[in-house]
């Protein structure tokens, strides 16, 4: 479970403040959950309602193997 892998990370709206400079090629340990990824990025879990992995809605328990595209959206309600 300690293989180093890479994901492509995209943080939307005001989460851009948490965006690492290496977001396009972000190193993770394979087997990392979305919840653990949020912790690693210092993003409070309760701020997040929508995460998607390779274009499919994911849960905090979804496991990343590396190679995925991960998008994270905070709640937005403006109009």
């Amino acid at each position: 479970m300690d293989r180093e892998s890479y994901i492509q990370l995209k943080l939307f709206a005001n989460l851009q403040n948490f965006m690492p400079s290496t977001a396009d090629n972000f190193a993770i340990e394979a087997g990392l959950t979305i919840g653990a990824l949020l912790a690693q990025l210092d993003i409070p879990e309760d701020k997040i309602k929508l995460v998607f992995v390779d274009g499919v809605r994911a849960e905090l328990t979804t496991i990343l193997d590396g190679g995925e595209r991960v998008g994270i959206f905070p709640p937005v309600g403006g109009g």
Partner: protein, 285 residues
Amino acid sequence: MNADAIERILRHAQPKEFPDHTSYNSISIRQIAQLSKAMGISGREIEIMALEHGAVPERYARNMKTFSPQDQAALLKACVSVVGLGGLGGAVVEILARIGVGMLNVIDGDTFEESNLNRQFLSSPSRMSKSKAEAAAQRIKTINSALEVNAYSLFLNAKNGLELLRHSDVSVDCLDNLKTRFVLERLCKQLGSPLVSAAVAGASGHVTTVFPDDQGLTLIYGEEENVPSKGAEAALGTVPYSVTFLAALECAEVVKTIQNKPGLLRNKLLVADLDDGVIDVVNLC
């Protein structure tokens, strides 16, 4: 009466050519207004009759290579409620009126303020403190007096919503807070009508279409009781290009829904960030 009306409409139609040199029978705004007055039939009904009998109202000529006459007539027969008349709603009203949605309910209890001017097409310095719903109704009538408009200077809620949305074939969520979005979704589900919903913060936003049996907004925002009133827009504000972009996408969903076309964003969310040009379609379930 009807046969006579159709005969009169067709008599007024003039042969014209599309830019690709294919021909059609065109009927002008002025002729539609004259026929409406002479026959005591609404302009909207004249436009529908024209389309169903081989004439094209000239104002829709550039739609007609994308829509069939039946598609265009379906828009003119439809009633769409636009809920919220700020950045999203102002652009949605503009597009739906121009494309030819026949009946528009415009709903917003708010009035304009200066901070609206960066993005809200219905706002102008002369309209400060004036009703957004009244401004929308005026704008629609300016664009196309053949359309039917009901303006409600009211904030939609669980009590007044069923009455306001009763005749609506599709509702468009252009609201600016999260709580009322869930109220609107519940009302649409109760009425058995589809909802197109978009939301924006800064240069980011998303859009989806919810049919009555779909899970809908909880897939985006989580459970209703845990949803905050405002989202990231409280920190980021809203810029005009993102809100107008999302409004245009909402209109495409409205049109496809009315015309029963494939490709709807049902159980899907189109997400966009115009800062870096990322656009993706996410499967929500």
